[in-house]
């Protein structure tokens, strides 16, 4: 129902949320960006639902709405308040270098080389290349960030990007994908929550780099 | 007729061997300005030993008892399988060069075991030295016989002596080199100078004598006789494979008689040579012997390479 332009707008929003996840220094903004991203996904799913009238998609939408848009950011915010010590949202690379790499990754995703991948559904090529760049950016986010919260957000946005890619590549029809996504989300959130509390209890901080001491 | 020839072939070596040993001793005695014992003395020695009692060590096992018989039997078989006075005989069964080499090795094997069996220090050392020399001599032995085999185109000893390869002078150098190699091996395997002194009983110098030190009576007679047989076997091989002149090539009483006489003459020439050699040089130090054996091997290898 929604035409291509609106979908492109949605994807661009998602892309921008990712960029903001990269650039922000405060965790709160990161959580908000994640919430926006998830609502984008919900809207895309709604679009897909209206096109195919598949009841399962509706269930998935509901689940995604509840978990990703509402509950997850709430969890994260509570975490931030509970462990209100210094939440390191720092990065390895400085801002200009980061932006250059982001630009390079986007360029690669949109390039001719990757056309066989992004050309799976020729009509949605722009959307697919945006989704692919989101995937690459999420991975880069995980690499670049030092704090555990940012990394988990990175993984979750990776999931979102892959879901978007799958929808635009025409794969959303398989029930297994949908159920899998829901289940995955649910478990992920629970684990993330427990993991974060445990990590804080053991190490006194959420800085993942301190785990280097485990090596020897 | 054939039966008679085979019987002569069979008994020739054991009958003539004590005579050859006696002959060598006589030559050595003459060169030492002595009269020396009669050339038939070894026969009398064998008779004496066969009629004596024996003492066997209580540490010895059945190997000690059986070894002399095996060693003697082996020399009889090999003696019957080599070309002696007749090259027209066809023996395709046991007359192969490798069969000869390894059948003689059976004798060496049991002799060495018998030396170790009584647990005396002399026997053990004798076995050790004998196996060392024998192991290194085997290469030269096989290769020297191989040279003439390759020239004649067959490894059957009777056929080699029949082949008349001396008519072709281009093989002369190969045959000469192989002959020198074979001479060295002959001295090694028959326990003569410079490898071993057959008349010594000093622990520093004896090899063959050390292994048979514990033997007495009939068994000693068999072993001494077997050693003499081995001497004649090697001399006959040297005579007939490298200088096959005069050997009977056709069936006929006259040819055979001439063959026997010429063979005895050749054997006596070789024994004379050995006697003179033993009087002229000293026994080598043990660790110089491998060098000599390797020289024999290399000469033979060169001889093979020279065959065109």
């Amino acid at each position: 129902m929604m035409n291509i332009l609106f979908l492109q707008l949605l994807m661009s929003t998602m892309f921008l949320t990712l960029v903001s996840l990269h650039l922000t220094k405060k965790n709160f903004i990161a959580t908000v960006s994640y919430a926006i991203q998830s609502s984008v996904i919900v809207l895309i799913l709604l679009n897909s639902f209206f096109e195919t009238k598949n009841i399962y998609i509706f269930i998935v939408i509901l689940a995604t709405l509840i978990v990703k848009v509402i509950l997850a950011p709430l969890f994260f915010n509570r975490l931030i308040k509970k462990n209100a010590v210094v939440f390191s949202a720092s990065t390895y690379l400085n801002a200009p270098l980061m932006l250059i790499i982001i630009a390079a990754l986007t360029f690669i995703a949109n390039s001719q080389k990757l056309t066989p991948l992004t050309g799976i559904v020729p009509g949605n090529q722009v959307l697919l290349s945006l989704a692919l760049s989101s995937i690459l950016l999420s991975l880069f986010l995980i690499i670049n960030r030092k704090g555990a919260l940012s990394q988990i957000l990175g993984i979750l946005s990776l999931e979102n990007s892959i879901l978007a890619f799958a929808i635009f590549a025409g794969l959303e029809q398989s029930i297994g994908l949908q159920i899998g996504v829901v289940f995955d989300i649910f478990i992920w959130i629970i684990i993330a929550f427990m993991f974060m509390s445990m990590v804080y209890k053991h190490f006194g901080s959420h800085d993942v780099t301190s785990m280097k001491n485990l090596k020897d | 007729m054939n039966i008679i020839i085979w019987i002569i072939q069979l008994i020739f070596v054991p009958v003539i061997s004590p005579f050859c040993v006696g002959f060598i001793r006589k030559i050595k005695a003459k060169l030492q300005n002595r009269q020396g014992a009669s050339v038939f003395q070894p026969y009398r020695d064998l008779w004496k030993l066969l009629h004596k009692d024996e003492i066997i060590s209580k540490d010895a096992s059945w190997i000690f008892t059986f070894a002399p018989f095996i060693i003697f039997a082996v020399t009889i078989i090999v003696g019957a399988s080599i070309p002696l006075f007749a090259s027209f005989l066809k023996n395709t069964l046991t007359s192969d060069l490798l069969v000869i080499v390894y059948t003689l090795a059976i004798g060496t094997f049991f002799l060495a075991l018998a030396g170790m069996d009584t647990g005396s220090a002399f026997g053990g050392f004798g076995s050790s030295r004998e196996m060392t020399v024998s192991a290194l001599a085997e290469g030269g032995f096989i290769f020297s016989l191989l040279t003439v085999a390759l020239i004649a185109g067959t490894t059957n000893l009777f056929a080699i002596s029949h082949s008349g390869m001396f008519t072709n002078s281009k093989y002369f150098l190969s045959i000469a080199l192989a002959f020198i190699g074979f001479l060295i091996i002959l001295l090694a395997e028959t326990a003569r100078f410079p490898f071993d002194n057959p008349a010594t009983h000093l622990e520093l110098t004896m090899i063959h004598e050390a292994m048979i030190l514990e033997y007495s009576g009939k068994k000693l007679a068999l072993i001494e006789w077997a050693a003499a047989n081995k001497l004649v076997i090697f001399v006959a091989l040297a005579a007939n494979l490298f200088f096959p002149f005069g050997i009977a090539e056709t069936v006929g009483l006259g040819a055979i008689a001439i063959g026997i006489i010429i063979l005895i003459a050749k054997i006596l020439v070789f024994c004379f040579g050995i006697g003179v050699l033993e009087s002229c040089i000293a026994k080598f130090r043990f660790f110089r012997l491998p060098d000599l054996l390797m020289v024999a091997f290399i000469l033979n290898a060169i001889a093979i390479g020279l065959i065109r």
Partner: protein, 683 residues
């Protein structure tokens, strides 16, 4: 009837018999005796059936070929191709397995209450299954699976006696070397797959023309190193003297007699069957490797005091002799002399069979002695012939066979090998002829040195006076062990005496190869069982030699004992002792026996001697408390080949360790970069 015996179902029932033995053994592991009997019984039954199968298959000349495709795995197919060569190897395996299993019933009693006999039965039967599969598999992946099973089960058998730490170390060395070899084999198969498009041996053989020559040479070298590691050629042999002594004796016999021949089987299969036509230098390389292995193997055997290590080195020597035959077969075929190539192949196969028989016999008898005296060190044996006369007789027959003394079987296979080398010298020219001359020289010396080695082994173990107290408590082995050894000793004699008949069968097996199908047989067996090589070049007859020996020996013995001097008195006295008391210290030791040869070959063996003296008073150093002398043989393979390799691998690994920084971000960035690069490359 023959059709039923030699059918596919029959072959599977063979495998199933062993499988029942394996699983049953494991099920009954609670009861030692039951597990032992069950496992051994089915192993014996399987081996007997294998013998019947292979003999009827060889005599009827049948070739079996069947395969099962597995839809789940496109490249793997359980395909079997049992041609005459495989049937020959099945015969060898079954024969040795039969007697080792019979021996094992009595031998395993030694392990009751100490280790799990269920595990022994399980791994033993699995080893046998894998051996059968290795020689009949016709698909590359299936072959590799069977090879892996063989390596794993033999590893567990090597470390079976866990209490001795040396055994565990030997097992680790064996494990690493086997897998290094397997890596080379896998690479060779991958190359074959790439150029012919299939893992199936028949398909590869049909498409061998598609492989360029450079790749063929590479495959040759890879396969030579891979299978050579299993066979134990020098310098890849370092695991053999460690692993074979560590295993239980009947397993050592099986490993030494049969498992290393699996490497030889594949070499024959790949070089003579699949990769033909081949360049000349392949055969020459194998001849040289064979000559070197034979000579060095026997030299190292002479330096050993551990009787099982001595036998292990002797196996290396005999593998060298088999390779001489194989190499000359390759050379002759590449030079267009198929009759001679067939002769050399027959020599190699005959020596494989003979070595399996007499080496197993030697290991089994050595195992009996070790069982009673509880040590492997020959310096503590001595005089065992009085306590274990039958074992001594069997060991003597084994020693005579391995030293190639007529009329035993070892002589005839070495005779055939010699004859093929002689024919090579006779008919070839220039530098190929020189390689054959060197090979013949090496074989001649090896024969002599092997004789010396086994005089030492037999003499030091069985003759003279006992050197330790344990020997005086030794008892003869139980009946099952004696039966196992006795029948093998008889086989040594029979295969020697009936070598003519065996040679005809081997010629038939050789003609089963595609390349030899139209070749005239190089031998003719006369009515008196004399083997004649073509053109009357050579001939020898097994039965005649045997009969002559027996007849002359009896005549001489009769004449001397009963005709000459019937009244001779034989007194038993002491060995001449020069007036002192006779002690075991006066006998020659195994070390002393070989010392002359070691000194002569000191450039190759690099013997070393170290003195350590402990004084009562360190200051004055006059009165010695104890003095020890350590004699050693230099290990040039470790110094020049394995240590440098080890050092390179260590350096590379330490450098590579830096990748593991412990930082999660680093690891994920590796994944990321890999993903991007993969995307860019593939698309």
């Amino acid at each position: 009837m023959t059709e039923i015996i030699t059918s596919a179902i029959s072959f599977f029932s063979l495998i199933i018999l062993f499988a029942i033995g394996a699983i049953g053994s494991l099920l009954f592991r609670k009861s030692d005796k039951l597990a032992n009997l069950f496992g051994s019984f089915f192993a014996i039954a399987g081996s007997l059936y294998g013998l019947i199968f292979s003999i009827s298959a060889i005599i009827s000349g049948s070739v079996l070929s069947f395969s099962f495709k597995l839809p789940a795995f496109p490249l793997l197919a359980l395909s079997f191709h049992i041609d005459l060569l495989s049937e020959f190897f099945i015969f060898v395996i079954s024969l040795i397995a039969l007697f080792c299993s019979i021996y094992g019933i009595g031998y395993a009693k030694h392990f009751y209450q100490k280790y799990s006999l269920g595990a022994l039965g399980f791994f033993y039967n699995f080893l046998l299954i894998s051996l059968f599969l290795v020689v009949t598999a016709s698909n590359g992946i299936f072959f590799l699976i069977a090879w892996e099973i063989m390596s794993l089960s033999s590893y567990f058998l090597v470390v079976y006696d866990k209490n001795d730490e040396n055994n565990v170390k030997a097992g680790s060395l064996y494990f690493i070397m086997t897998y290094a070899g397997t890596a080379f084999i896998i690479t060779a198969f991958l190359f074959l797959y790439k150029y012919t498009g299939s893992f199936d041996f028949a398909a590869i053989k049909a498409n061998v023309g598609l492989i360029p020559l450079a790749i063929k040479n590479t495959i040759f070298i890879l396969a030579l190193i891979g299978f050579g590691t299993k066979a134990g050629i020098i310098p890849l042999h370092i695991w053999l003297p460690a692993a074979h002594p560590a295993a239980p004796s009947h397993v050592s016999a099986l490993m030494s007699g049969v498992m290393i021949k699996a490497g030889i089987y594949m070499m024959i299969r790949i070089f003579l069957d699949i990769l033909q036509p081949a360049p000349v230098w392949w055969g020459l390389v194998i001849v040289i490797i064979g000559a070197v292995s034979a000579l060095l193997g026997v030299l190292y055997a002479l330096t050993e005091q551990d009787i099982k290590k001595l036998l292990a080195y002797s196996s290396i020597e005999n593998i060298g002799i088999i390779l001489l035959g194989l190499g000359s077969a390759l050379t002759f075929y590449s030079l267009n002399m198929p009759a001679l190539a067939l002769l050399s192949l027959m020599a190699a196969l005959f020596h494989t069979l003979n070595h399996a028989i007499f080496k197993s016999l030697l290991f089994l008898s050595a195992g009996s002695v070790i069982n009673e005296v509880h040590t492997r060190n020959m310096e503590e044996f001595g005089g065992v012939i009085k306590y274990m006369p039958q074992t001594a007789l069997f060991f003597l027959i084994g020693s005579m066979a391995i030293s190639a003394l007529p009329p035993f079987n070892g002589f005839f296979s070495e005779w055939l090998t010699f004859q093929s080398l002689f024919m090579g010298i006779f008919q070839l020219q220039s530098f190929v002829q020189w390689i054959f001359i060197i090979a013949a020289g090496s074989l001649a010396f090896t024969g002599g040195l092997a004789l010396a080695c086994f005089v030492k082994a037999f003499g030091a173990t069985f003759l003279a006076r006992p050197r330790s107290l344990e020997v005086t408590h030794a008892k003869e082995s139980p009946l099952s062990m004696q039966v196992g050894m006795g029948v093998m000793a008889t086989l040594c004699l029979l295969f020697g005496v009936f070598s003519g008949y065996t040679a005809t069968l081997l010629a038939k097996i050789g003609k089963g190869f595609t390349i030899f199908q139209n070749t005239v047989s190089p031998i003719a067996v006369a009515s008196n069982q004399g083997i004649n090589i073509t053109n009357g070049f050579a001939s020898a007859s097994g039965p005649v030699i045997f009969i002559l020996l027996v007849v002359v020996l009896s005549l001489v013995a009769f004449a001397i004992r009963y005709v000459v001097n019937k009244n001779q008195k034989i007194k038993i006295g002491a060995t001449w002792d020069c007036g002192t008391d006779l002690t075991p210290r006066m006998e020659i030791t195994a070390t002393g026996f070989a010392q002359s040869i070691v000194t002569i070959f000191k450039r190759i063996l690099k013997p070393s001697i170290q003195h350590e003296i402990e004084y009562h008073d360190v200051e004055s150093r006059y009165m010695m408390k104890s003095r020890s002398v350590t004699l050693g043989v230099g290990d040039i393979y470790h110094a020049y080949l394995y240590k440098p390799l080890h050092k390179v691998i260590n350096v590379l690994s330490t450098r590579a360790k830096n990748i593991q920084s412990g930082n999660i971000n680093a690891y994920i960035s590796y994944i990321f970069i890999a993903l991007v690069v993969a995307l860019l490359l593939v698309l």
